[in-house]
Symmetry: D2
């Protein structure tokens, strides 16, 4: 699982780019100066693009870096070191996933209209799946409907946690197209341009005290009799869940490697602070055994988690994501747990400084608490993995 | 430790007051509509005062409710159920502690000028102790100085986490008055009106993404050659630490019982949500064994923690806080840990809703992370309690 | 919850008795020299009896110390400091519980024949409830039957974990007397003298590598058409579960306070070893922050757990055990968890010595692992407490 | 890290051998019928040898399987599934390590006399390092001395935890040969045949209630003026620690992979029991969410730990153990922790059965508690790894 020497060079250059160009923008972000930050960040994006660091998760055919999942995982880890890393290379959620859907399932027209500007970084998109009144753990329990009317669908429903809807050009909406179909064939994914009549961005949900802005916001959207042509549907009718499932394997690798990157940055900050901060003249925090315990435990947990994610990515690369379903379920909750513990220790090491926004740790502490929830709560993954395992023991 | 039937009635009325009058204001607070919220909250304050629910921690002589520490603990628990509870009865930090200092150590003039309006709720105050460049765990390592000049002190230094400085009338500043004195006699506490020349509120520190406002803000203050008369000193010169120590015992009881209140409210929210939220038609979350485990574990931990705090309060009531130093150290880190675990479970139970600001859980999750840091980090308390215990085993 | 000054004196004398007379016998026990140990222990028993320390859980009417449950809890805590403590005062399981059953439900003849010699310490008894093929978590799922035949019952079935059956005079057997009755009224408790034909002590089960002996053994018993008169039944037919339930509240207080005693002894051993053992010349283990953390955390957990158990005992004393069901369920799993953690830390503090039988810690580490299983596994208690709590939130 | 197809076949055959031939002997071992068990086990040893499964850790030159460390790790994992697995292939501690020392540092005479019969499985050996009065965490603090007298050494001292000394042919003793030398050059390793005058096997230490027998015993040995020729020294004088250090890297890989094997077997037992055991008719334990959580968490932890150990082994294979010191320190404590948690869950899943010796789980639960102690306590490894890491952050 050692990267090739070529990839090593790429990783090292990207890391330098992140350190020098992207991390200095974090204070603007943490200070809610979104507009000013975006001006700079978009410049950095161009810089990244011109360096060839663009769309690491996309094949070269579509203008991406053409990496394997393992390789992209390693890039994602480096990008994850900054809150702003993934945006800089245009591989942030949910655009990255939406690109994959459009590449796999988009018609030539859909690709022309939606995929190309997305790949170019000219527009952003969002994904409207979760509903406030229905549990995410039961994906077939969904209230939003898309009813046929002539050549159109009329979409009605209420969605939230549509990340990045503010400023997006279009949404991909999951809606029930046939409530009587077999459980997993009821829904379809449909493209809805945000300027369609009836598309209402109700509010940016306040999450952990912040409403954020642009790609860093979670939006509540009402679809009030939104009319779009049926040609906006992605794939065949009823394929909504199948398409969503396909995204999950690679999507979880991306998340998990991003979390590893967060862990690594936080680990560095913890070690640096422990080395610099003195608790008495000449006695840095690093001398304290409790701090040493945290460092050793964090290092062990991060290493183990990292190998586990790369191993799952490797299995997907080799055998496809169906074969790796168990591994993918396991990393999702396991790495989220490691992330929370590492952040907690890094924060505590910083003392009062740790709860301020002088470092990114407090941001991750509060916002990545959701890592144990989004994309399937821990409990859902545990149950589902365990059931699959237990079947092997039933005689 | 059962409350008297009279106290039970008081507690029940206060609880109703919190439920009906105070909790409905939380959304304004969580939505950063501080000014509007404060208008309402100040009305509720008058209501509380007129009901006789005012200054529960203060003796009747000074207009308070004259409760024992155990009794005040029980009130604090109820108030803690809302983010806004303590302010409503004028027993919020740091005013509550500053009142106690002024009562114990204030001159008649100081009481007249600073204590009376504080008790009346007409002004607010802050406490300037922590310094960004020096660790809070070593209270004798302090850079701020107060140098005598004629009848005055000239105070110079930099403080942060001066909670509530925005809008405060005065600060009590901890400063070194004699750097050559014995370690714990170097500092004094000095009253500094905020309109004194050289008092600069540099910024409200961004904590967990929020700068807050008024009493709910943490401020960085520069004392730039601030001149105040020596008569502004509290107690004899060099008594700064001794006075600070005196506050600690009762102060920690207040904190811990407030945390118990937070636990109780979060526990209620968790149980209510589990009962209402269905994961499949007719199947509430409450049926899931994982949720049941969290409820049982939380209930056990809260009950045990609560008894432990009341037991420490009782010991202070009976034998003074010196006798209860071990108990006070133990509750500080133990209850903070329970708080974090209970909040974590309550948040997870709510799923995506849990990270939003639709409930107060996410607020407490992020801001009460500091419970393991402020007023002595866990590690400091553990070390200090353990050393005291170990002395008993050394022959 | 402070003991009266009279009780304090009693507790202090019992503690001295345990330290001086009982603890010195532990090495014989740990070295499997049961016969020799019992000779000494029975002498100590006489000593305890003559000092008036006898049957602390039994009313004075029946020759006991007539303590409240809170008071007995405090005695049990002291006795728990030694592996042999409870036997010394004739309040070891299952005799203690069997005495309570006979006092509450025994006929005058049963009391004469079984209770009196048990109270006197002349005989021992066992309790046959658990069955290897049926889960203890479902008490109504039981295979052992007692079929009427004339004036007799004919009992058939297989039981294990009949603690102390080796050398016992009689067993109280739980058997189905009416399989068609309402779920909780199917079973009865029946006295079976061990010399009855068909009573086979099949084996002492090897538990954690040891088969033990006498009262310290767990036996598998086959009841092969054992014929006893129906007058051996305790209480009315079908009352087996009700009677068992009655024992549970006080029984769990006894267990939990015994566990607190184990925690206290282990805590002392941990602190003593940390103070004496040097890791480098002049540097005792006690200087290490990790050890200090364990000491502080253990102290906090033990204190909190202890208050919680005494609070539950107090509630039973005041309002009866039905009112305290929730508290009793909570302490069972919570204190078992504290016990395991404290033992683990105490063992680790001792290093290689900790896994040897030079201290009682390794014995408790392995044998009290069962504390999370016997008398209801953690999971069963958590579920049952949570369900009771959740009912209060269902509208 | 995928095994070659050839190795896969070997692993699969060894696994079958362990399942069919070795595991059936465990009950004899658990029932303390050591002599009978050994008769059978020695037959199985011959069978393994004749199948070519012999000395997996040794090069082909010396009659072993000539595996890389990664490959041997995978064999060790399979062997670890049984308590008796490593003995069957003659790669049990401490013989395996002693063989490596003799191969690296033995003279032709030493190899002839001690190594050859050890490789052949004709004799056993022990390693005498740990001293009861000195902490293992400080290897330079040692009381045993070897004083030159003519061509001999006269060795005096007291050792314990000399595993397998009962029935061993010789011991390798660590003794101070030059107390004035530089700290890590004071000691030498010296071969002492057990029939040398002055070699006293004082006792088999009772560990977790068992004294064991033969290779499965931990012995206390007094070296009372034991005279051996200086030609019995291994390597140059003062090289004792260096030689010991060399063993540590590979030795820890062996241990950790053995632990992974224990985890895997326990995991299987847990899943099988959960599937078979019903809590109500038709409702196996496997349906319970708590059990599912344990299965998912265990699977994740085992997978991650396994990859981490293989990664460390790979690094040693590629770059030598010095380069892998950090990885080796991390796996030691991390995997020991995983082992303890997995065993705890497997035990709890079995309920009362779990504490009996009907399965090997209780054996591992009690005896592998020492995994967090032997070969360096967790705390020692954490400290030492953390210090190495922190040096990279000190500017």
């Amino acid at each position: 699982m050692e990267p090739s020497s070529e990839l090593k060079k790429v990783l090292s250059t990207i890391r330098e780019f992140i350190e020098k160009e992207i991390i200095p923008l974090e204070p603007l972000f943490l200070n809610h100066q979104y507009a000013e930050m975006m001006t700079h960040l978009n410049e950095k994006r161009q810089m990244a693009k011109s360096l060839g660091f663009w769309l690491p998760q996309i094949s070269q055919e579509y203008g991406g870096m053409g990496l394997t999942l393992v390789e992209h995982g390693m890039v994602s880890e480096i990008l994850g070191r900054s809150i702003l890393g993934h945006y800089a290379l245009n591989c942030q959620a949910p655009d990255a996933g939406n690109m994959e859907i459009l590449i796999e399932h988009g018609t030539p027209e859909q690709k022309e209209k939606y995929l190309q500007p997305l790949l170019a970084g000219d527009i952003r998109s969002c994904f409207s799946m979760t509903e406030p009144e229905n549990p995410g753990s039961n994906p077939t329990w969904m209230s939003t409907t898309a009813v046929k009317d002539g050549d159109d669908y009329i979409i009605s429903g209420n969605k939230w946690f549509s990340t990045g809807a503010e400023g997006a050009n279009f949404a991909i909406v999951m809606a029930i197209t046939d409530p009587k179909a077999e459980k997993y064939q009821r829904a379809s994914q449909i493209i809805v341009p945000v300027d369609t009549s009836g598309f209402h961005l109700v509010r940016k949900t306040s999450v952990m005290g912040e409403r954020g802005a642009g790609w860093a916001s979670h939006c509540e959207i009402t679809y009030d009799h939104v009319r779009v042509p049926q040609t906006n549907r992605l794939g065949p009718e009823g394929s909504g869940f199948t398409i969503a499932q396909e995204r999950l394997g690679p999507g979880r690798i991306h998340h998990c490697m991003r979390w590893i990157g967060i862990c690594e940055r936080s680990f560095d900050l913890m070690c640096e602070h422990a080395t610099l901060r003195e608790v008495a003249p000449g006695h840095p925090l690093a001398e304290q055994q409790t701090i040493q315990n945290w460092i050793a435990e964090s290092r062990a947990e991060i290493n183990a988690a990292r190998l586990m994610v790369l191993d799952a990515a490797h299995k997907i690369d080799q055998k496809g994501q169906y074969a790796a379903r168990e591994e993918v379920g396991l990393i999702k909750f396991h790495v989220a747990g490691v992330l929370q513990r590492v952040l907690d220790r890094a924060l505590q090491t910083h003392g009062a400084l740790g709860v301020t926004d002088e470092t990114p740790i407090a941001y991750w502490f509060r916002h990545e608490r959701a890592a144990r929830i989004y994309d399937g709560a821990d409990e859902v993954h545990k149950r589902s993995v365990a059931r699959r395992i237990l079947r092997r023991y039933a005689s």
